[in-house]
């Protein structure tokens, strides 16, 4: 299965520069718009990278080739979830790193504080997206995915103003991850992610390529 994760990285190698550019663009857009949560740059970058990665897998019906190797479909799905997790963590960490960099270089820039709470929220939102996206990807055909990609992009753009609500609440210290309710939501997200994996496994096993 790790070979499949390695495959994803080799395949995305040539897009690394593009991803970096996306990240920078997202960051610039979010920083200049003071009302938005900066951590969304991590979410957008992680998810865009995932969409590129899944896109690469179906662009040339690559699943037909993968399945001829000594692996089974469950491993393909498992590796994709692991890859998604890696993208999420790396993107969110990069986002934090950029935030810390900006703070040091330009402390006068009024940036929203990027706390651990926000980092966890970023990861949580991304995982929710992934949990809905991947079952659809492994179930639908190429044409279906084209539609889904557009839908998700619209949702993400709509997310920008919406994300201010929890951010505002967190800043006012009204809620935090120390709260039981929020912690339970976090647990729910993790469970959703795991359930999504099993659903995807089932759907992909039935599919004719």
């Amino acid at each position: 299965m790790l070979n499949l994760v390695r495959k994803d990285f080799i395949v995305m190698k040539s897009s690394a520069a593009l991803i970096l550019i996306y990240f920078i663009i997202f960051s610039i857009v979010l920083v200049s718009n003071n009302m938005s949560a900066f951590f969304l740059a991590g979410v957008y970058t992680a998810f865009t990278t995932l969409m590129m990665s899944t896109g690469a897998d179906v662009k040339n019906e690559n699943h037909n080739f993968l399945i001829t190797m000594p692996i089974n479909r469950a491993q393909i799905v498992r590796a994709k979830y692991l890859t998604a997790l890696i993208y999420t963590v790396v993107a969110s960490a990069a986002c934090y790193g950029l935030y810390a960099l900006i703070r040091t270089v330009k402390p006068d820039l009024s940036l929203q504080a990027y706390t651990l709470d926000q980092l966890l929220t970023a990861v949580g939102i991304t995982l929710v997206f992934v949990s809905i996206y991947l079952p659809l990807f492994y179930w639908l055909s190429k044409k279906g995915m084209a539609v889904i990609n557009i839908v998700f992009m619209i949702i993400m753009i709509a997310l920008t103003p919406l994300s201010n609500i929890p951010m505002h609440l967190m800043r006012e210290r009204k809620i935090s991850f120390a709260d039981t309710t929020v912690a339970l939501i976090g647990l729910g997200v993790v469970l959703l992610f795991i359930a999504s994996y099993f659903i995807t496994k089932y759907l992909f096993n039935r599919k004719d390529l």
């Binding site: 070979n3 080799i10 190698k13 190797m69």
Partner: protein, 288 residues
Amino acid sequence: MNAIEIRNLSKSYPLFKVDNISLEVKKGYITGLIGPNGAGKSTLIKMMLGIIRPDAGQIKILGSEMPRQGIELKQRVGIVSDDCFYYEHLSIQDMKNVIAPFYDKWNDSKFSRYLEQFELSPKKKIRELSKGMKIKFALAIALSHGAELLIMDEPTSGLDPVFRRELLDLLTEVMQDEQNSIIFSTHITTDLDRIADYIAFVNRGKLVFNDVKDDVLERYAIVKGGQDLLDADIRAKFVSLRESAVGFEGLVDDRKQAESLFGSYAVFETPSLEDIMYYTAKGGRIHA
């Protein structure tokens, strides 16, 4: 032992179905899978590989059941297909780096030798390769991980005649080891006329025969003669006939019977596999 064993395999599509096919691919030999386009050859192979799920039936490859025990046994199977769906933007080298770690018995020096022999540069991107070169690449991969079974789905349709001959040499070289087996599906039967040991003929989703090639070529015959030799009974003995103003030409599946029937009034010829495919497909008679 059989390299591949298929029992009662079926798959239905709206306009077509693979109908209850059972066949064996014997170990140590080359089996050719022939049939016109759309006969079901590719569907059959895709089911063997787990790309398509059958509606019914069992598949055993090298003694193990597919797809349950699929992972381990795919170590010993090499696949060459005319839709080789590699990642187009990667180079041959990168693609190899993706594939090689999956195989326990990967032999890198062997792979490099094949690349040289096939004149493929490791730096070339997959999307820059012609169809024939993609097949050569697939072949290099298939032959570099110690595979005992080669499954080839229309491997020669994009190849120039020069390489097609080289391919035959490569395959007979593989067969020097009697542990190896090859199944080779194609509609270009001239490749198989020479080196195939067994022939399985699929037409309209059904298996027409699966037999020793030499026996098939001795059993069938092309019969040519004058119009006056035909009547309703005699026409029925043909798989199918081509009648013209200057005579008839047809295929029979029992040469001895035809020879005793026509004697010296007709000309008899050994058919090629293409003749058998053509006349059977035309005839609409499906033999179980």
